[in-house]
Symmetry: D3
Subunit: 235 residues, 6 copies
Amino acid sequence: MRIRVVVPITSLSEADLEDRRRRLSREALPTTEIEFVPVKKGPITIESFYEDELAAIDLLENVKKAEEDGVDAVIIWCSGDPAVDAARELVKIPVVGPGEASFILATLLAHKFTVISPLGRDVVRYENKAKILGVESKLASVRPLGITVLGLRSNREEAIRRIVSLSEKAIKEDGAHAIVLGCLGMFGMAKEVQERIGIPVIDPGIAALKIAELLVQAGLSFSKLTYPYPPKKEG
Amino acid sequence: MRIRVVVPITSLSEADLEDRRRRLSREALPTTEIEFVPVKKGPITIESFYEDELAAIDLLENVKKAEEDGVDAVIIWCSGDPAVDAARELVKIPVVGPGEASFILATLLAHKFTVISPLGRDVVRYENKAKILGVESKLASVRPLGITVLGLRSNREEAIRRIVSLSEKAIKEDGAHAIVLGCLGMFGMAKEVQERIGIPVIDPGIAALKIAELLVQAGLSFSKLTYPYPPKKEG
Amino acid sequence: MRIRVVVPITSLSEADLEDRRRRLSREALPTTEIEFVPVKKGPITIESFYEDELAAIDLLENVKKAEEDGVDAVIIWCSGDPAVDAARELVKIPVVGPGEASFILATLLAHKFTVISPLGRDVVRYENKAKILGVESKLASVRPLGITVLGLRSNREEAIRRIVSLSEKAIKEDGAHAIVLGCLGMFGMAKEVQERIGIPVIDPGIAALKIAELLVQAGLSFSKLTYPYPPKKEG
Amino acid sequence: MRIRVVVPITSLSEADLEDRRRRLSREALPTTEIEFVPVKKGPITIESFYEDELAAIDLLENVKKAEEDGVDAVIIWCSGDPAVDAARELVKIPVVGPGEASFILATLLAHKFTVISPLGRDVVRYENKAKILGVESKLASVRPLGITVLGLRSNREEAIRRIVSLSEKAIKEDGAHAIVLGCLGMFGMAKEVQERIGIPVIDPGIAALKIAELLVQAGLSFSKLTYPYPPKKEG
Amino acid sequence: MRIRVVVPITSLSEADLEDRRRRLSREALPTTEIEFVPVKKGPITIESFYEDELAAIDLLENVKKAEEDGVDAVIIWCSGDPAVDAARELVKIPVVGPGEASFILATLLAHKFTVISPLGRDVVRYENKAKILGVESKLASVRPLGITVLGLRSNREEAIRRIVSLSEKAIKEDGAHAIVLGCLGMFGMAKEVQERIGIPVIDPGIAALKIAELLVQAGLSFSKLTYPYPPKKEG
Amino acid sequence: MRIRVVVPITSLSEADLEDRRRRLSREALPTTEIEFVPVKKGPITIESFYEDELAAIDLLENVKKAEEDGVDAVIIWCSGDPAVDAARELVKIPVVGPGEASFILATLLAHKFTVISPLGRDVVRYENKAKILGVESKLASVRPLGITVLGLRSNREEAIRRIVSLSEKAIKEDGAHAIVLGCLGMFGMAKEVQERIGIPVIDPGIAALKIAELLVQAGLSFSKLTYPYPPKKEG
């Protein structure tokens, strides 16, 4: 199976992308081939609704191209799931958002879950996502780290320390029974955090990959009644 | 007060825009100056999440420019409220979406309301909008006309007839006590429909204008905690 | 346009009423004429469900008379919105409650809002109002000042100081992105509070006025399916 | 135990009241003494929010007097539960509303329930009541008979026939598993309806009586945090 | 009326059972006969979903037998309401769960309520119960004592002290207006706690008894559409 | 990876079990080994809450044994997910319920979904499941086939015809955008139905298998805060 990861930001170097590809491939099925394709034009990182929009056009072209290239599923490499609704309209193959994939796994595994986000402004985004997905009663809280996306990359140890400490607060004060890492900047940190806090910690990269593989294997994709093709114009 | 209406679609001719401007100005306060500014690049009409994205970049530039030009408020001329969250991040002045403006007025005026939309696919969009706004328990139903946006323009009489007939169904079968016209293609039809069915009918153009005027007069705008400026990047 | 403000309490002197009229008129459109009419019999202030009932009969007579006098809209001068449902049954013109008007504006402008109320007992009233309006998921909290309605009048500076401090708590601890002043005893304090805390602060008097003006201008009133005329009795 | 039934309408003759008293007493514990006390001034029947208000003042006096007279509990004889919140503020003894009593029993006994109401306008009232009580997800529907309160009295057989037929519709089309009779004009009809349709049918008079007896026996009353005494005024 | 209390645990001695029977009988109507019947095989106490299952089979046999013996209603002596849905399928007489009975009374009497549970793990159980009953918006919080069921029995004074202290916290921090004692190990403690904290405190044993008596007197039982008899198998 | 399917009913012969194992293995990863283990004592089929209980004890023993045998995950072979909460308390490995697995996939893939159930009585079960999982706003409807579990096995073609026809009704009348097959008696029918109706159709057997494989691969299991081990008893 071929899965193409569309990267909607421009701050990952070729080496960074290759690093992510290698690390994600380690989590994949032996028969899964993973490709990372960045947008040519887009925001440095996505931390606002505005940057969602900056990412969108190029991202959508990439999703269309992925289907034309015979790819089996697409992952948008951002937990904010930018333009994911629009992307699903354009193609038949599954387009997986790491945010949504994480939320439904946490919904299954725990009475309630907390999202650890980079910044305070993400609270709006993630509470809205929970409402749209229909799982708002499962969201115990969104807890911001106070670290930007770029900051997450440059200081892995400090980030993990703070994620652990926030998670413990979320367990004690908010009733969280599972943790969702709310940014691909935290990709690869879940296992270490899970070992320390002893409850399920959902890695958005792995969640997206595994859900994408699941959908392809099960012959499932997003409903074309929810995401019909954009209409042809009359005139 | 100066209000700029940003038109996120390209299918309105200069004459069409002038017509809309004149008709909307008739509803405005004597001291309100209304300008219509279309995007240069964008979709013919907006009937999908994909077309939201096609409209976004140029629309956002226009919103920023409006504030720089000293405009007091901006209206996005589409009931789908495309890119309205991103736009509010960029400026301090109110950016009003006709869909949201209509929904909150209907929430105030009636026990429950129905949205008359152009197409069946709009059900997802409007049910999601109600969830995000937090008024999902007030939304009796979304009833599609089965007429495209372009079709609405070319056949006004037929459209009104079908809006009236759908509204009567919504009253009887869904418990609707007010009607929201869910497309700017229905701008100017509310009064006629209201006269025939005897319950409040919200015109999205007038709702947006009146809410924009209200906010400017009351010295209110959207919360900068909900819509903070996009962050500067470190590197 | 003529707007009549029905005052459901008896503790405002003629001078007080004239003062409120003058201050509210400053917020009105140039073409709006505002009249303040107090009930003859009623409670000193309204701080309980019981006092709602004491206010009701005289208030309702005043609403009926307002319509007979050719007034365009009525405002009930109390954020508890006493007898507002009954009043809407009696007339066709809009009867605006400052509480409801404030709630829908806050719903539009912010992800979540907090109501600053005079007393702790108001929590029940405002949480119920949010449920009935259908915006309970937008209400971050109700925070009582611990100051009675009469107390608010006699100590403006102290009141503002405490509103500011409670609002800051609501932002930090409850996730509030906007503030609703939950009593007409706080009329005229919103702008000062807004300047200090930097997020939208809704003044119930101004909210009610502006919504009343909006409805009259837009040719809208409350649904007669939600508020039909009281039935004639058979026998 | 002494239970006083306060009747908030004026259309029941002395004989009618005695008839109701006798019939309700048959459902009571042997040690329960029931008194029926009508308001002196009030509406003929209660079918609107306006008539709630007409009933309120005299009703509240009666509630206060009941407590002074040493009565153990009060029932407001109307399924609309007029002024029940205000009444609870005035006294320590339980003040039971037949509507609320019916709703919580139906919530216990069935997955979902339907309220059979006299008129179509009652839909708003009962859907709001369910929201305030917090049981809106249990309310399958409100189905109006299209018979006024006075009509219910004069044509018992026809009323029962239509209640049965509406209940069967509610079972089939709305998923109702229990029925609440939504008007004291249907007092005494529940058993007959229950026999015919085979699911629980809640009689508002009996529900109110039994809940009142239960509360007195269990030493429970309404929370004084929810319904504190009206505040003394400073000045 | 005969009420049989089925005890789903094995740690109550004959003397304990007789003690409970005597104390519950004191709360009953003079005409109510109460019998306590323990399961022969079952868990020591019920503090997990697993122990629900250990209790179920023998409990269900007892419920069926109760109906055959001509008993009028059954109470399951555990606030977790184990196997209560299955039990209602087997018989026509009311099968009352103390947890559900407590929740609906608290829903009636207060704006919001808090459940005091033995252990932290009970939060999941009681939040789920509130969702299924449809009263989740009334549940202010679940506050665990950190005392096991057996611990509750052996140290009554300490338990009451901690219930009082937790209840005061729930009032102040969670907005609780009533308290539900969430374990039969607290049977008989409600009155003492209520006297100290001044708001309604629901005793699960008394709630179950009084609801059972109410249902029998009112000729009501659980809906056979919600709890139909288990189907006969074809083959 | 080893996955053990615990079959909580007794009506599947050895040949039936082998048939299911073979068909499910075809959907599995090449490295997944699947074993089917039936309970020794249990109901013929599960169509009631009572039969859940009949299945529970033996099922729980099997789950514990599975972990002792070194199995990586357990699937309970029934869409009602009997005793799944209790089972998760007993072990650390994932215990997957086909109902829950189906619901979360449908939540991800579609705006709303409909469950096709064998019998009308399943409506209660599946609406409750949606509430507990927190996805009740995504459940468009539960549509019963009117065919028992045994009936499903013996008449595959007729079952598929009726599933297709009910699904089309659900799309048109209930707004369903995806279908969940609500019984393992429909295992293997999803693909055929999906081809005919053109929207996602979730097979409970495949959903459970794929979610089990996903969890094992991702190193995830159910939260031990939601499902802690049953407590040791003091005495």
